[in-house]
Amino acid sequence: MSHKTHPTPPRKSATFDDYTLSEIRRAAATGIYDIRGGGTKRKVPHFDDLLFLGASMSRYPLEGYREKCSTEVVLGTRFASKPITLKIPITIAGMSFGALSGPAKEALGRGATLAGTSTTTGDGGMTEEERGHSQVLVYQYLPSRYGMNPRDMRRADAIEIVIGQGAKPGGGGMLLGQKISDRVAQMRTLPKGIDQRSASRHPDWTGPDDLEIKILELREITGWEKPIYIKLGGSRPYYDTALAVKAGADVVVLDGMQGGTAATQEVFIEHVGLPTLACIRPAVQALQDLGMHRKVQLIVSGGIRSGADVAKALALGADAVSIGTAALVALGDNDPKWEAEYQALGSTAGCYDDWHEGRDPAGITTQDPELASRLDPVLAGRRLANYLKVMALETQTIARACGKSHVHNLEPEDLVALTIEASAMAGVPLAGTGWIPGKTGP
């Protein structure tokens, strides 16, 4: 009777944890995999695992607020006759009208313009709201080609050929029927209310040799004026970057697995692709090996939240960063003021990710006119501009502390890592040692 005198406490399985069990039950009950928005929610090595050393005996800091520390970035200097100049090295990532409401797209344009940076269309074409309110607008060229037309291409400031995104390298898009409103359906030439599955491959080219010819065509159509970006999901960053350069990119955009999607299978988001931190050094190495670092600009995205993240990405060799999720939060996404409504949807503020269902209490990821009207595009745009400016200031603060007169002068030597994993991925020494796993001896 020892089991009564020494009862075994209930022991939860690390393998079959609560979330896993609930997923099995959910799949069994519904017969469909989980679809959600956002990027990976698992913990992966990230910028938090890096620290700046700052100035000391051998490095002189710049005076905060007095000595100049530039943040300007020029994109598209390789082939385009009209490169883009941005005041800050932080751009707004591509997010579709369809996934987002019209007012949300307008707010992104307004905020980006106030902060002196660019915003980007998405898988659904260019709307008048965003073109009208965006001083610099990047036009995405996606596999679906929804709404693609030469007029919008000519009035764009740059073209971004989307090969993939960090949340789902190798995956296409997904917009469930409840978000296919009349306007979205009309822009995409689709029946209203169907589940729209965007293609994962481009319809008229395969591989980097074809892409080189596709880029030639796009440049010929637009008179060689516009920078052409190639956006990649974090997958094989060294070779993908090298091939993008070979295909003729002016700018490479590299998106890690923390980068958000409007809607994709949970299994895809959590199990395919590389963390942002693991993408940057191989991509920079490819550019350096080709003698193209700073000639083909590198934009990094996926989990950028603060000026510290921006500074760390730049120090690792990026020319700029891009934000999506953080920009939506700045607009008002997942704001606790809607907590009661998040609860009613079975979620809570900070966790809401069923963006594909179109019932967003914050009125951002919806096509419901009533919900969408909750977002004031002027106020939300101002909030985004404030946030962008704070991030730029934070980036400058760190750069000055490291003695840099331009944020691009930050370098790997300014960084150390807190974990062995981050040290290996970022190629900077473990703090307090000279050790970089795989590169130097212990």
């Binding site: 693609m148 291409m153 030439t189 319809p203 080219w205 074809d210 010819i213 065509e217 159509i221 637009t222």
Partner: protein
């Protein structure tokens, strides 16, 4: 009529001349292009009602994103001819490679020879008339517009298509997911007769064709259809 010889003139100059035709003060309405020799991106991004006669075969993306122009290729065309065409007409006297008319949103593409695989992929309103046969996976995810084939179609015709209409006169090797033969009603015969006339085809009757379209079974996800994807 301006004659542009690609043996001596760069591609950039050709396309710029064709783009300039849309600007006020330009009166040229007909162009001839010599020695294309398989060049890529010939006559792309035109936005004016001009005619362009290309005397020879072209490479990738000839007539890409065309608006209003009438482009005739007196030869064969490489991949992606008339991709994303908005309006106007592109005529290929020879054969066309893969992805002919991909994502086209309007206008008419006539291929007097055969077209390879993925003809009309993701088409969004373009009309395509092929005198000969078309290859596999044609009209994949086709959204809107009409594909007319006087000859045979390869495997998996119309896979995952939406509301595009397909008319095939010859044999279809196999139909793709969610594509079915449909009844030919008077309105379809009228559309087909109109397109045949527009393509200059007089010796073929609309009644000789079979109509194919979407069964619309995959429009909204159902786990029990998973094996169809």
């Amino acid at each position: 009529m301006p004659v542009i010889d690609l043996a001596t003139t760069p591609l950039r100059a050709l396309n710029q001349a064709l783009h300039d035709a849309a600007a006020p003060g330009h009166n040229d309405t007909a162009f001839e292009v010599l020695n294309p020799r398989g060049a890529h991106a010939v006559a792309v991004g035109i936005a004016a009602p001009v005619s362009v006669d290309v005397k020879g075969s072209v490479g990738y993306y000839c007539g890409g994103m065309n608006e209003q122009a009438r482009i005739t290729v007196h030869g064969s065309a490489g991949p992606g001819v008339a991709e994303n065409m908005m309006s106007g007409t592109v005529v290929i006297k020879g054969d066309a490679s893969q992805y002919a008319g991909a994502t086209g949103r309007g206008g008419l593409l006539v291929i007097e020879g055969n077209a390879a695989s993925r003809c009309g992929i993701s088409m969004k309103g373009i009309n395509i008339v092929v005198h000969g046969n078309i290859g596999h996976m044609s009209a994949f995810m086709a959204q809107s517009g009409t594909l007319v084939v006087l000859g045979d179609a390869g495997e998996a015709l119309g896979d995952s298509l939406y509301e595009a209409r397909l008319f095939v006169r010859g044999a279809v090797k196999s139909l793709g997911a969610d594509c079915i033969a449909k009844e030919m009603r008077p309105e379809h015969l009228a559309v087909l007769a109109g397109l045949l006339a527009e393509a200059g085809i007089t010796d073929v009757k609309p009644q000789e064709f079979t109509r194919y379209g979407s069964a619309r079974r995959l429009y909204n996800f159902d786990i029990d259809n998973a094996d169809a994807y």
